[in-house]
Symmetry: C2
DNA sequence: ACTAAAGATGCATAATAAATGCATGTTTTG
DNA sequence: CAAAACATGCATTTATTATGCATCTTTAGT
């Protein structure tokens, strides 16, 4: 039971963007250099964030990326919901299960996932980027 | 974010066993026939349950499987803990992350997993096998 | 003692999903 | 018009999961 790297990369990209001085644009390359991950991947993740309205991208020479919203307005729950392809702990329909209809397991597991998500709900990007130290580190490249 | 089939098979096997009349033994083959899944897999899952003391196995001719404990004493949380290979939503150590030390994300995700597990804690096998109807269905083969 | 039933276990293979890389297109500034 | 930088699709690789095969061990019944 773990989250996909897409989700991971989304978080990291957002953290990096949040660590920039206001108005500063960074390229996908910058993000990849910092974390040593593949540009192709980050590119796709960023695209999703752009479509969702969390990141602003400017194309062409001199372009780049920046946060489109304040970190306080970017919910960690939303990110998980966006990038996790499945949030069903067990897919009972995948292979036909003969207990269907009387099985309470689905409900119990479903509410456990709900508890997981609920627990993320109060947090925003601001909560994971508040440290001054971290911002300094992000610049120190 | 989903659970492995091992966990799924463990739940199903336990449900099937709990649905048997007291003293009745069933073979791995019975379980596989009922759910149409592979004996090899179930065999390994059952072994883990035997080692943990949830299932009793009798080898040799006329042998078979039965619950070693009352369903009320078999915790769903224990099963998930046993069969999920990883309960870390993001493995920060896998690829070195430059934010380590200042990143609050790990803590937040960690407590979300805790919430997931906590939510399972109150339930036992009895909670997912209480329906009379289900027991009837399990026999009706 | 022998045979068949049934669990126990290790190894090899296949299937699936995730991750990565390559190639190419599009937009925009200078 | 050239270069920078985002945008996107496709192919390949990798890793994990799932499955299947082969073999061993135990035990009841004859």
């Amino acid at each position: 039971m773990k989250l996909s790297k897409h989700t991971d990369y989304a978080f990291r990209s957002l953290i990096f963007l949040a660590g920039q001085p206001p108005g500063q644009r960074v390229t996908i390359q910058d993000i990849c250099d910092f974390y040593t991950i593949s540009p192709n991947h980050v590119s796709k993740v960023i695209m999703q964030l752009v479509r969702r309205g969390e990141v602003e991208s400017v194309r062409g020479k001199g372009g780049g990326l920046s946060l489109a919203r304040a970190p306080e307005e970017i919910s960690l729950l939303d990110i998980v919901r966006e990038f996790e392809t499945t949030l069903q702990p067990i897919d009972c329909a995948e292979q036909p299960c003969r207990i269907i209809g009387n099985c309470a397991l689905q409900g119990i597991l479903g509410s456990a996932v709900e508890a997981f998500l609920e627990s993320l709900a109060p947090y925003t990007l601001a909560d994971i980027t508040s440290s001054e130290v971290q911002v300094l580190r992000l610049q120190a490249d």
